[in-house]
């Protein structure tokens, strides 16, 4: 396996590190809370979440921001463990999008 999309230390052309701060949005705080809860319940381990992010489609990984990657890895692990099904999640997403008028 060549270097993964997560392992870019020292890669030329990566540019400067963006050190700017931003206020966390509610969905980002919620992503953290769900992640903590799944950990506390023993559903997943940090190493599994990291591995799930490493296994993501590289283009999707690069397009996502930090907590989007967290959510994608939680979804992948919950599906992998048979706790949720992909179509259940997709159905719920459509439901929420309708409710909240998201695109």
């Amino acid at each position: 396996m060549e270097r993964g999309h997560h392992d870019i230390g020292g890669l030329p052309g990566a540019g400067a590190i963006d050190k700017s701060q931003h206020e966390l949005s509610d969905w980002e705080i919620l992503a953290d809370a769900v992640n903590q809860a799944l950990g506390a319940k023993g559903v997943k381990r940090t190493d599994e979440m990291r591995r799930a992010r490493e296994e993501m489609d590289s283009e999707a990984y690069r397009e996502m921001n930090y907590y989007e990657r967290w959510i994608a890895s939680m979804e992948a692990i919950l599906i992998e463990k048979g706790i949720l099904k992909k179509d259940e999640i997709d159905k719920k997403v459509v439901e929420f999008e309708k409710k909240w008028g998201e695109p």
Binding site: M1, R45, R50
Partner: protein, 108 residues
């Protein structure tokens, strides 16, 4: 609970990072593979993340070290010659080495 170190290396030992490209969850950064440095600190034994990442039990535990490298040995240029680069590396990613890199008086 801290598990005492059972690994092969002691502070000051010269080590080379294995230049391997295995599939799976690897905690050894790409840029440090194949490089030589010295053991700075021995943390103790920890569950193996390469196993935990796939739902395994993480056993046997692996010794984790803080390894010090000269920048010149990592990046190939004598940039920041007095600075060191520190990386956490597990025992099974290291092999004994004769230190053949930059003069390293500042690395104990």
């Amino acid at each position: 609970m801290i598990h005492p170190a059972t690994g092969r290396f002691r502070p000051g030992d010269a080590v080379r990072v294995l230049n391997e490209h295995r599939p799976g969850h690897i905690r050894t950064p790409y840029y440090i593979r194949g490089k030589t440095g010295r053991i700075e600190r021995v943390y103790g034994d920890f569950l193996n993340p390469e196993s935990l990442a796939f739902g395994g039990d993480g056993l046997p535990r692996r010794t984790l070290y803080l390894v010090a490298f000269n920048h010149a040995d990592v990046w190939g240029a004598a940039q920041a010659p007095r600075d060191k680069l520190f990386v956490d590396i597990y025992d099974h990613w290291l092999e004994p080495a004769e230190y053949g890199g930059q003069k390293d008086e500042h690395i104990r």
